[in-house]
Symmetry: C2
Subunit: 151 residues, 2 copies
């Protein structure tokens, strides 16, 4: 037994996340972005003007946490919010021209880390891991979990 992470799923996940964060952060640092920020830009680019709520849901993130996280990106002019035409409560998030450029720039560096990670970890194994992690993050899994809880 090497410690609590041999037993606790949550603790093991956090440690791996810290480590992975170090590797990806280091690689993307030259752009001035954190890996989390690049992930955010990637998701925004992928979703094409999502509302805050949609984006938060896609990221498995609290809505207000998303709001806080977007602030530095807005301050730096990479992201902007525009009120939705049909629902003035909602705000749509999108990349600015500068945001798109920064995203592309970071994407180059991301490809490098990603490649190195998979070279060290195994491409197939990484795909399986992502699949497992995506399952844990899914609503489907949470529903299954809650069923066990309510038993």
């Amino acid at each position: 037994m090497n410690g609590p992470t041999d037993l606790c799923n949550n603790a093991a996940l956090r440690q791996a996340t810290r480590r992975m964060g170090q590797l990806y952060d280091d690689a993307i640092a030259p752009t001035g972005l954190r890996a989390t920020q690049h992930g955010m830009l990637t998701q925004i680019d992928f979703m094409q003007q999502p509302t805050m709520r949609e984006l938060a849901e896609a990221l498995v993130m609290d809505l207000s946490a998303l709001g806080h996280t977007l602030k530095p990106l807005m301050r730096d002019g990479l992201v902007e919010l525009t009120p939705d035409e049909n629902d003035r409560r909602a705000k749509r998030v999108r990349l600015t021209t500068m945001g798109k450029a920064k995203f592309q720039q970071a994407l180059q560096l991301w490809r490098v880390v990603q490649g190195r990670f998979e070279a060290a970890f195994g491409r197939e194994r990484a795909a399986e891991l992502r699949s497992t992690l995506n399952f844990i993050a899914s609503d489907e899994f949470v529903a299954a979990f809650r069923q066990k809880r309510d038993t």
Copy 2:
């Protein structure tokens, strides 16, 4: 393709961590502790008066980040620091009597979530996942990664 997490190991890991954190946090909330804090108490209990450096290393955590994280626990009287006898630079971390009690209390709730998680996810599968995550967090893996990097 459901989104970037199908491709990025780091993004997938973060989302799963946020989700898992929600589940474990909810379960342990009645004690007034976060799941991360319970994890911290668990590690401290396991290590028996580690120095800050040793504890940070075991948790794959930055030393100063550890310092910050310990503050609320110290403020609440669950943890205390004592200077090392042989090396006055070092400080040893340990649980107070109250800290041990709180740890045991949270441990009961942890067992419940842990059990529910494994019921929903699969016990064997969870063990494999932890093993994989621990590997990613290990120095061994980082060394392998850096080799690819230096190529």
